[in-house]
């Protein structure tokens, strides 16, 4: 298996593990960020064509010598969306800490059943 594919799946799984197992809210968000990085790497690797160069068509690079531009455009969007989610989640965390004075999710379970 290709190292880039391997790395992206590994990053997704490590991030998912953090979300599932860790009890610290910020640690869970770190996990989500790592997952997003893994997904971005996966998308770019899917669009890569071996032996071709970046899709900037200057200096003698003809269309048949460039890699697929679409996944790159998608990842640009995905990165920005990821940061937006992270920033919003962190402001939720700040509010939560002001109310409960803890970051441990086990201690902030008020809503049940």
């Amino acid at each position: 298996m290709n190292p880039y594919y391997f790395a992206s799946i590994a990053l997704i799984l490590i991030g998912f593990y953090a979300v599932l197992v860790k009890r610290n809210v910020i640690k869970m968000l770190v996990g989500l960020s790592i997952m997003e990085t893994g997904v971005n790497l996966l998308l770019i690797s899917v669009g890569y064509v071996s032996g071709k160069s970046a899709p900037i068509l200057s200096e003698g690079i003809t269309p048949d010598k460039a890699v697929d531009p679409i996944p790159q455009a998608l990842v640009l969007t995905a990165i920005v969306i990821g940061v937006a989610t992270t920033a919003l989640a962190l402001s939720v965390v700040i509010n939560l800490y002001e109310k409960y004075k803890t970051l441990n999710v086990e201690e902030i379970r008020r809503l049940r059943g």
């Binding site: 790395a7 790497l41 770019i44 669009g47 990165i79 962190l90 800490y97």
Partner: protein, 91 residues
């Protein structure tokens, strides 16, 4: 040759991700996360995606880490030790 570079970067990414998840000091964990983003941005250069590499370095690594650090400054820095038993995300 380039295979070895790929393996090296992939290994670095996975190792920093594991550290980011396991370190109890949250600041260190955020630095680990930023390291994952930086290595990913290098990987994007090798995968012929310079645009994405720039965005990942500027937004994914730098700003997102800055936002995390500001949030940690307003909350607390260390993760508590105890292991929990229940699943959190449930009804």
């Amino acid at each position: 040759m380039s295979d070895w570079v790929a393996i090296f970067i992939a290994a670095l990414m996975v190792i920093s991700a594991i550290f980011a998840v396991e370190w109890r000091d949250l600041l260190a964990a955020v630095v680990g996360m930023a390291a994952v983003s930086l290595f990913a941005s290098i990987a994007f250069f090798f995968l012929q995606a310079p645009d994405v590499a720039m965005v990942e370095a500027a937004i994914g690594a730098a700003l997102s880490a800055a936002v995390f650090i500001l949030a940690i400054k307003r909350t607390e820095r260390y993760e508590s030790e105890e292991e929990s038993t229940g699943w959190w995300v449930r009804w």
